[in-house]
Amino acid sequence: MKLTKLAAIAVAATMVAGPVLAQLVFPSLSYRTGPFGANGSEVADGFADYMTLLNERDGGIGGVMTVVNECETGYSTEKGVECYEATKGSGALIYQPLSTGMTYQLIPRVTADGIPMLTTGYGRTSVANGDVFKQVFNFPVNYWNGASIAVNYMLAENDGDLSGKTIALLYHNSAYGKEPIPTLEALAGIHGFDLTLLPIDSPGQEQKSQWLQIRREQPDYALLWGWGIMNQVAIQEAANIRFPMENFMGIWWSGSENDVIPAGMAADGYKALTFHAIGTDFPMFEDMQTYVVDAGLAAGSGDNVGTVLYNRGMYGALLAAEAVKVAQAMHGVAQIDAAMMRDGLENLVVSDETMAAVGLQGFGPNFSVSCENHGGPGLGAISQWDATAQKWSLITGFEPSDMDVIQPLIMADSAAYAAENNIESQCN
């Protein structure tokens, strides 16, 4: 009896969140709670604010208003499934789950449901092979590009020779942290450096033993593949053992203000990869201030504008919005559906003109997507933290990665997936 009553209430609750018409729906599987919440809220705020800006300034995209359907996952894959099932019926155009574990879950589901998914800078790297992964995109950059760009930077610092050097990889012991290992192992074979793998169990507050090992072995470089609270702890621990910060580099998920501020001056010089510009020196931010922040429409507490991860969430929203424009032009309708959205993503071209039109020239690299290549060119830059000015700044331009190493790995991994799931070529 009790159960049926609960069920009836739950039915009523899901009915209310039913389909909406004449809107472009962007579900945001965000996480504002839990050990990853500090980072998750900034990304979610950036995503939501950009969509609000489009509504307030331009009246939506192509005259159709955008709706951000936010669902809290707490970075848990079970809640992620619940959120996906709850939002997919609402006309969802695209999913950007911001979690590698959730991406793995959703790849088969979005493929079956025909909804595209964009995992910029995370997720399963081999989805870059669009011939196998029809619905999933990870342009403009992925983890393997990131690993390669980091190694290229170290090569440049050592006049092109890393033989005999040691690189320690501190990684979140999950799918996310393990992603770069095949590439780094391949690169270690080519360039002759030693790779030390140091897994850290989620959520990552406890990493004393790993840092003890670093202290003992004195690696030349340390790479950090962490997220949430794990980053803050790692940078603090590095400061504690006086590991030279300029030799400590994080992936783009380990380089936000949240991660370095707690360590104070000791974090000065810490580096992190990024695939978009940092800061608010773009004309678009003036609009953001006028139309969203000053109007009191900012998501969350509204104080995250311009942080690294806010910009990243905004960039994700920007890519989705540009794909909508492409899809609208291709199909000649303003109210597109998920299948049209997929076409838009696959034919997306981001050029200087595109970025200038939205007031963000130079914010990210130029690239184009094709049926075979869902991964873009894989360009990334290195940023460095200045603890005195309390500010991240780019110290390189957007550099290419070693695609000769990465492309065969992508082909091998996607071929394995295709064989396991009987997927035929999608591009012919």
């Binding site: 159960l3 609960l6 069920a7 209430i9 739950a10 009523a12 609750a13 899901t14 209310v16 969140a17 965000s30 504002r32 709670t33 919440g37 809220s41 936010e70 669902c71 809290e72 707490g74 848990s76 894959t77 079970e78 499934v81 619940e82 099932e85 709850a86 997919k88 019926g89 590698t100 574990g101 793995y104 879950q105 790849i107 088969p108 589901r109 493929t111 079956a112 449901d113 399963r124 790297t125 081999s126 012991n173 999950s174 799918a175 996310y176 393990k178 992603e179 290992i181 095949p182 897994p199 169990d201 989620s202 969350g300 790995l409 991994d413 394995a416 396991e420 799931n421």
Partner: protein
Amino acid sequence: MFYREAGDFKKSYAEDNQTFPLKLDRYGYYLLMAVAFGVVPFFINDYWASAILIPFLVWSIAALGLNILGGYCGQISLGSGGFMAVGAYTTYKLMTSFPDLNMFVIVLLSGVVTAMVGLIFGLPSLRIKGFYLAVATLAAQFFLVWMFNKFGWFYNYSASGQITAPAREVFGFEVTGATATASAKYLFCLVLVVGLAWLARNLTRGRIGRSWMAIRDMDIAAEIIGVNPLKTKLLAFAISSFFIGVAGALFFSVYLGAIEVGEAFGIQKSFLLLFMVIIGGLGTIFGSFIGAAFLVLMPVLLKNIMVGQLNFPIDIAAHLEFVLVGLFIMITLVLEPRGIAQLWRFAKAKLRLWPFPH
């Protein structure tokens, strides 16, 4: 008035021993089965299957398993998450090695493999009891999770250590993978739940169940009256692990479809399962179901009410959800330390006397 034995005459020992001696209970059970098998599959959608009913069914099997060990045999285990992982990874290896095998066979075999692993980790229970045993089973939890992370063979050497369930069939219907229909997945789990609950119910009221309870209530006395503690305890560990292994197999293959061992089967899952059993009611079959419903469905319900109906900001709703679920747990345990099943039993006892209580 209506809920009573009077007039319900039993003509054989079998009738006298049946699970639901009262007519009303029996009809309620038949009705529940009819609805679960005959009505729900026609109306179920993806949200109901993936977010509500399948997790409830899967956790019910796991709770039944832990209840056999903890509730009936009195052995505390914190290794359930690890045992679920054994079930999940066995399923994955069997699914990828033998693509044509029936999923029922795969899931049950995973249960058998988990039972053997459980047997090994149950050995310390012969020497240690109570909290010390809990700590020993905790070792199983950490060891198993570490093992599935460490050795690439278990996840077929995939780059990220994730395992993904391919599409597999039962009698021509896909039950795993993303293209499986909601009703097929639901019915697959439901058949296993009903079968295993029937098994658990009959095991626990027969000779084996009585020997478990004898060990639970006082192991020395049990030994004196002729209960072999070695066999009894190990059997409890094996059967409990079988149930938990089946639950882990379904958790991976039908419910989530892709998992990563540290996140899906970490220590928090062991605790969640223990809470289910304690809140539901130790040593009851019904308690396993109600405990699973309480901890799996309550958060979803609260979320839907707070976000869907009351339009709370999602982060506040998520935090309030923790507070409220915690509060409900405390209220339940303060009012009835023996779990929700005890409240149910109490209500039934009252009903029998109604309308003329003492």
